[in-house]
Amino acid sequence: MHRIARRGLAAAASLALLVGAAACANDEKNAAGNVPGVTDTEIVIGTHQPLTGPAAPGYARISAATKAYFAHLNSKGGVNGRKITYKVMDDGYNPANTENVVRKLILDDKVFAILGGLGTPTHTNVLEFLEGQKVPDLFVASGSRSWNQPDTYPTTFGWQPDYTVEGKILATYVKQAFPGKKVCHFGQNDDFGRDSLLGVEKVLGPVAAKQTYTPTNQQVGPAIGALKAAGCEVIISATIPGFTALAMGQAFGQGLRAQWVVSNVGADYTTLSAQLGDKKAILEGMIGNYYLPMAGDSADPWIREYTKIHQRYNGTNPLDGNAIYGYSMAYTFVQALLAAGQDLTREKLVDAVEKGGFQGPGLTPFRYSADDHSGYSGVRLNRVQGGVQSYFGATYTTDDGDGEVREHTQPPVTPPADAVPAS
């Protein structure tokens, strides 16, 4: 045999032996270690947010508010003596980036949990990974029904009402308020749009026309043209804010005068009017919906508390629906942490959310239980009038199946002092 080969083989053989001996040496020790991200004085959690890209207008302010709430909470002593550190990673609303930043958060930064990961297309791609790592994946900032699969993804929970619940309520209202009108649907080309359409069609039957858009492609002209050609009079729109603005602007330009009824994730007036600039007058009469106090309602006790936090820790951003969302979601998270107790583990946190029963700023109750991981059970409609977006009519709740849409009459609770949940 040749000398190089013989020498090489000898080296390879000894290396292989060494590898065998060294393999799996430290895995068991690591697995049995402490709770990742939790010390006696700190809880480190992470999230993926669209700070840049097509969903950044509006949504980039959600994590700023959540961060501000935790700063406020930490100044009041934290949760069970632990301060919360919130690591926000930008994924640009691109599923490919989400996959990378979430792995970095879990494997490299070793966060305790993921809180409020934003986006339907983005978060769908990390469900498998988070399930495998057994990381609590709380309060996904999206209304896809994917988060409500306790058997497949036992650690994942939604928070906002899902798009099917919302679609059913919107469609019920449209049926009552616009009888005999041609109703169409405009939605995002993923589970967001599909879940919404499912809810709408459960109530209305097949819509007159349906069109979709892709978040990276700003050309909505042809889709709006098709809706105009179909003679749509009411358009139910499952769109992120940037595309609500694009679609309504395009419809106005093409002379399509229809009643817009928009999903709560894309209906925040402050965000939309900033997007539309001097064309914001076309938002007049737009119907949206929400499930938290409206930012403009300064008489609401929650808004009064949030305003104090906002001015102190988040003053550079407007107090809009995105900020209210960020504050309220952080509030629910603190309630869950308190329910999980002093001796915090990942399992205890998941159990605490499954037990549910959290009462806070929401207009409707949460649906949390061991076999329901979705969030709020309903919404209330709002309308833009004279440049002010305010609620009208009753609050409705329903489920994502064939349950009926019913009125919810119980008023929301008042906030505790400083909007910090009492233990």
Binding site: L15, L51, E99, T212
Partner: protein, 374 residues
């Protein structure tokens, strides 16, 4: 004969040639190339396995990513460096491999066919499908030169996102296709790090690619590839079928890209079109030029760079507290800027790429200390 029958063919040597290292010497005076490469591969593999046993999960994931990119850059450097054909569409070929893996895995999972064999099977299919696409592009490429070839491959790169959104029913648009994660086999123990297993899968694919490519470079085909690159007319006179050689180069490099893309999909257990933008194709090209065009060792440098630059913006924004606006602007563009800068510096200082610079440096060291005579 008044006019050469080859007048229509642009027979000038490729301008890429200036960037190339001198051709590797013939195989050593003794020994089989295959055996030598096999031993090298086993040694490198054992060293990396040893490394992965000591690493944290996230570092292992990065090792796995380097291996996945190495599959791509190794094949790509053969196409561009050894055969002188430019492709701006290799990101799209990676996407083809990745989507094949996702579709096969989902198909198997839907039929309750699960097992360790599903990963190699889906990777094999990824290579086959991508090689087929490479054949189609290669057939067009063999008729085109320079900017026209670049244009066609560029079109392929921009086509991928469009195809995935038009055929939403199959590819699920920008949301993409998640599929079950490849988990380590039970005999490795319940606490075996899953990322280490992924690194091993990627490592095996990379070693296989490197082994095949190293042998290809030194074979008759390798010499044909170089002959066609240097002078098509001369190659034709020597009896080499120019078009066939070019198509072959494209097929081989497409197969490698498909394998790399497939492995990348296995690492993330999901595939989405946002992962394969036009920038990826440009990054791949820059990586092999910076590493050293036409050199497999240069492909390793390129793969390392590709992974290192992925984490650069996050690292920088963590190390320095930048103003919010600036940090956001950097997020998407920093990698491109840094890559461009490195490219300029490397081209000025070491036109042959990093690998050539390393080779020259070691040669200089060797000259200073003459080897003891035996």
């Amino acid at each position: 004969m008044t006019q050469s029958p080859y007048a229509t063919v642009d027979a000038r040597p490729s301008p890429l040639r200036r960037l190339l290292p001198p051709p590797p010497g013939a195989a050593g005076p003794r020994g089989s190339t295959l055996l030598r490469h096999l031993v090298l591969a086993v040694l490198a593999g054992a060293a990396v396995v040893l490394l992965t046993n000591q690493l944290e999960p996230y570092r292992n994931l990065q090792v796995a990513r380097v291996c996945a990119f190495l599959c791509v850059t190794a094949g790509f450097t053969i196409l561009v460096g050894l055969n002188g054909q430019l492709s701006l569409g290799h990101g799209a070929l990676m996407a083809t491999g990745a989507y094949t893996v996702a579709l096969v895995q989902r198909g198997l999972d839907g039929r309750d066919l699960r097992g360790q064999w599903s990963v190699p099977l889906s990777l094999l299919l990824a290579v086959a499908v991508t090689a087929l696409l490479g054949l189609v592009i290669g057939l067009a490429a063999a008729r085109l030169r320079g900017p026209y070839l670049a244009g066609v491959t560029l079109a392929v790169a921009t086509l991928v996102p469009a195809v995935t959104t038009i055929f939403t029913g199959v590819f699920n648009g920008e949301q993409g296709l998640p599929f079950p994660v490849a988990t380590p086999p039970a005999f490795l123990g319940a606490y075996f790090q899953p990322e280490r297993w992924l690194a091993w899968i990627a490592l095996l694919a990379a070693l296989l690619t490197m082994l095949l490519m190293a042998n290809l470079v030194r074979s008759r085909y390798g010499r044909s590839l170089r002959a066609v690159r240097d002078d098509e007319v001369a190659a034709r006179l020597a009896g080499i079928h120019v078009a066939r050689t070019q198509v072959l180069a494209f097929v081989v490099s497409a197969g490698c890209a498909g394998l790399g893309g497939g492995v990348y999909a296995v690492l993330t257990a999901t595939v989405a079109s946002g992962k394969f933008p036009l920038e990826l194709s440009l990054f791949l090209l820059m990586a092999i030029v910076i590493g050293g065009l036409g050199s497999l060792a240069g492909a390793v440098w390129g793969a390392l760079l590709l992974v290192a630059l992925q984490d650069l913006p996050a690292l920088l924004t963590e190390a320095f507290t930048l103003p919010g606006g600036l940090a956001q602007r950097l997020e998407g563009n920093l990698a491109l800027a840094v890559f461009g800068l490195i490219l300029i510096v490397v081209m000025l200082v070491a036109p042959g790429g990093l690998q050539d610079a390393v080779r020259k440096a070691t040669a200089r060291l060797g000259r200073r200390r003459p080897r003891p005579s035996r």
